[in-house]
């Protein structure tokens, strides 16, 4: 491959100088010394929890594919490895929010696409972003782009992202995540507008060398990559669904990095085999007990509050997560704007209060059902909850459902209680989006309808003042909890073990940023 490009009239250094303060600051500590380590050869072997057959970011289904996409494509900005959420420059040499609805960017002049598709231009950025929001693309990731209007091309490598209204999540979940990947306009159009399992043109520090379905994906260093050289020549990604299997593979020296089960954390705290290291990161996932507000048996708010107070979250976490996860206060994890230091209902149970609330409710001989997914973590959790509710005189029957039936529960009007767990991107709006009135019976299984909550959700996305935004989301979670429909349990955790030859580059939630992995 030969990349042909013309030098931009403004030098890279000059652009860097003009970049926003956060971006510029973030660009400096890359987490590893690229040049020296990059000269060494080697293969990094990591585990993914699923296979990644799709190479089209517009149709990406989540983190497994994004781990590969972020290595073979570039974005204007990428997540910064470390313990705090932030971003750093990638394909952009500078990027600046000039007003609430306009973001100016300039591209680096040394990035090109494979297969003869030339240098990356602002036209490629425009094509990639507008393709996500185009109805004909039918991208499931369209909501991540929020109120994107269009991208204005102002030069070969300069442009402006134009929003219909301010959209704070653009910086946290749109540009540095799935929808931020820049694809080659000529390559995608040449492929009929859709990328399938073969990437039609790549531009990142790695190229996808091969993919054996359900067996292995191999990434190899892009010989034409002009940025900071990646440390590893080859990255092998093994889809292994089961964590026990992955742990055994790691201990046998077959993997350099894997996420491990929470049950194994205590064992790995005592020592990771082969001189490895355990890294414990918080997670963004949120787990909660929900109550269907439309169900005739759950109309009484006092009854719902009695259930909230009867459940002892630390005991649940000890039994189900072996004490490796902390109680949560809501749906927004620590580290994100809107996380509450404390919930309205304490994590510890207050059985006396629960019994008093139940007495106030006037309900007696209460029998309820709890729907759960057929995984040991949830059956364990459910049995603990069953025992706790029995203490206050509520009989609970546990319905274990296989995943197909469970995830179709949204429109199940007979649903009473449900143990649920949603994944999350690093912006609070991503959490509140599922609990609006419009989502009732879709993803809002509790049928929680609250006008103030809906208004907060709409307004907070457009709020660019982080402190004000945080207050808004905190209030939103107060409203959820006050309804009595939610008992927040945990955000879980992401424990990862890695071998002694790896310097991992992880997001604050423990997910891998493979292109930034270093060598020890």
């Amino acid at each position: 491959m030969k990349i042909e490009w013309t030098k931009t009239p403004i030098g890279r250094r000059k652009f860097l100088k003009g970049a926003t303060a956060l971006g510029a600051t973030a660009a400096l500590p890359m987490g590893f010394g690229g040049s020296a380590l990059a000269q060494e050869s080697g293969t990094l072997r990591v585990r993914a929890y699923g296979d990644a057959p799709n190479m089209d970011p517009a149709h990406s289904v989540g983190v497994v594919e994004e781990e590969i996409h972020s290595s073979i494509y570039n974005k204007l900005v990428q997540y910064k490895p470390g313990s705090e959420w932030g971003w750093q420059l990638d394909a952009a040499s500078s990027i600046e929010q000039v007003d609430p609805t306009h973001i100016k960017f300039a591209l680096r002049d040394d990035i090109g696409f494979t297969n003869g598709h030339g240098a990356m231009t602002a036209e490629d950025v425009k094509f990639s972003f507008e393709r996500i929001i185009a109805d004909e693309t039918e991208s499931p990731n369209k909501p991540d782009m929020g109120p994107l209007s269009h991208v204005e091309v102002t030069g070969e490598r300069e442009g402006t992202i134009v929003l219909n209204e301010p959209f704070a999540p653009l910086w946290s979940i749109a540009l540095p995540y799935i929808t931020g990947n820049i694809v080659s306009k000529s390559a995608v159009e040449g492929a009929g507008g859709r990328i399938n399992s073969e990437p039609v043109a790549e531009s990142g520090p790695y190229l996808r060398a091969s993919w054996s379905p359900k067996a292995k994906t191999v990434l190899q260093r892009n010989p034409d990559w002009k940025g900071d050289a990646p440390a590893w020549d080859t990255i092998e990604i093994y889809p292994i669904d089961d964590e026990n299997t992955a742990e055994i593979a790691f201990e046998a020296g077959e993997l350099d990095l894997t996420r491990v089960s929470l049950g194994s954390v205590a064992r790995y705290r005592d020592g990771v085999p082969n001189g490895g290291t355990l890294v414990e990161n918080p997670s963004l996932f949120y787990v909660w007990l929900g109550m269907n507000l439309d169900h005739p048996k759950l109309q009484n708010q006092k009854l719902r509050q009695a259930i909230q107070h009867a459940i002892d979250v630390p005991t649940i976490l000890e039994a189900s997560y072996f004490g490796a996860a902390d109680p949560s206060t809501g749906i927004i994890a620590p580290g994100l704007a809107g996380n509450r230091a404390e919930g309205l209902v304490a994590a510890e149970a207050n059985v006396e209060k629960a019994m008093a609330l139940l007495a106030e409710s006037g309900e007696s001989n209460v029998t309820l059902t709890l729907d759960i997914l057929n995984k040991t973590t949830y059956t364990t959790m459910a049995q603990v909850i069953q025992a706790m509710l029995a203490q206050i005189g509520i009989a609970l029957e546990i319905n274990v459902l296989e995943s197909g039936a469970f995830w179709a529960s949204g429109d199940n009007e007979n649903l009473q209680l449900v143990l649920n767990r949603y994944s999350m991107a690093p912006d609070p709006s991503y959490a509140t989006a599922w609990f609006t009135s419009a989502q009732a019976g879709i993803w809002n299984w509790e049928r929680f309808r609250n006008e103030e909550f809906d208004a907060i959700h709409s307004a907070a996305s457009a709020e660019t003042d982080t402190a004000k935004r945080a207050t808004m989301y905190q209030r939103a979670q107060d409203l959820m909890e006050e309804s009595g429909a939610y008992r927040f349990i945990t955000h879980e955790a992401t424990p990862v073990i890695h071998s002694s030859r790896v310097i991992p580059a992880l997001r604050p939630d423990g997910l891998s940023l493979l292109r930034y992995f270093g060598k020890a």
Binding site: N244, E247, S261, G263, S264, R267, T315, E318, A319, S320, F322, N374, K375, T376, T377, T379, T380, A382, Q383, V384, Q386, A387, E397, I398, N399, V400, L401, E402, G404, A405
Partner: protein, 285 residues
């Protein structure tokens, strides 16, 4: 009455003379005994949690250790045997009774009825049992009754086909022709003359089927779709054990061993029973 008691004694003695049969008899006897008297045998309440004592290894206080909720694994294994038999016995004997009736009617009745019942049996058999079970459980929800009904429904064709074949073999035999010429009703011919000649073969089949049903129930429970928690079941124990195998192996052993032992026991018993009741084998012996 005296005759049937003596036949049963002959069968039991015949089984006991065979070392494997004896072992099967002992194992099955032990499982049935522990299931019946579970309430008196178990040292702890099998659903009582004690999270502080969770994931313990075997000790004198907990012979098979404890699970992730601190429940005594031995007590759960014994009570799980009760559940296994509660599923296996009604399912197998229910399927045998219905299959036997339908099979005899198919073999002795008019051709159109035979064709219809065979079509019905083949349709049911064309569903893979586990997939069929999963579909039914997904539709109506998991419970002991659901598992029993699913197992029964999927087993009926096997008994029906065997009963039909035996009936077709016997329907033109001299003693049946003689009964028919004397004006005996269909019910009498089937109930009094055919049944005693068919039941032995089906009993062997049933004995061999019990471990299959126990494994199926365990399989559904392993997938979390068997009996509802907190009811103990060998499959659920195995499932929890598998999830926690890196923390403690005792749950897998506690859930897996009874399934293996029960399968061996019922298989040995079934094979010995076959040897005893099969006239050809008995003659050779």
């Amino acid at each position: 009455m005296e005759k049937s008691q003596s036949e049963i004694r002959i069968i039991i003695v015949g089984i006991a003379k065979n070392p494997l049969g004896f072992m099967g008899l002992v194992i099955v006897g032990a499982i049935v005994f522990s299931a019946i008297f579970a309430a008196w045998i178990v040292p702890y309440d099998p659903i009582e949690m004690n999270i502080r004592d969770r994931m313990q290894g075997p000790s004198w206080s907990h012979l098979l250790g404890t699970d992730q909720l601190g429940r005594d694994t031995f007590s759960r294994v014994i009570t799980g045997g009760q559940v296994a038999l509660k599923v296996a016995l009604p399912a197998v004997f229910g399927a045998m009774a219905i299959g036997l009736t339908l099979g005899m009617v198919a073999g002795y009745g008019p051709k159109w009825l035979d064709n219809f019942l065979m079509l019905l049996f083949d349709t049911i058999r064309s569903f893979p049992t586990v997939m069929f079970a999963l579909a039914v459980v997904a539709l109506v929800g998991p419970s002991l009754q659901t598992v029993v009904l699913v197992v029964m429904a999927t087993s009926i064709p096997t008994y029906g086909r065997v009963a039909r074949t035996q009936t077709l073999t016997l329907r033109n035999s001299e003693f049946i022709l003689a009964e028919r010429s004397m004006g005996a009703s269909m019910a009498r011919i089937l109930g009094v003359h055919m049944l005693p000649n068919i039941i032995g073969v089906l009993a062997v089949l049933a004995a061999m089927d019990i471990p299959t049903v126990i494994a199926l129930e365990a399989g559904l429970s392993f997938l979390g779709l068997g009996v509802k928690p907190p009811t103990p079941s060998w499959g659920a124990l195995l499932k929890d054990g598998y999830a926690l195998v890196r923390q403690t192996p005792w749950l897998v052993i506690g859930g897996g061993l009874p399934i293996i032992v029960a399968t061996l026991g019922f298989t040995f018993l079934g094979e010995s029973l076959r040897d005893v009741v099969d006239p050809k084998l008995r003659k050779n012996q």
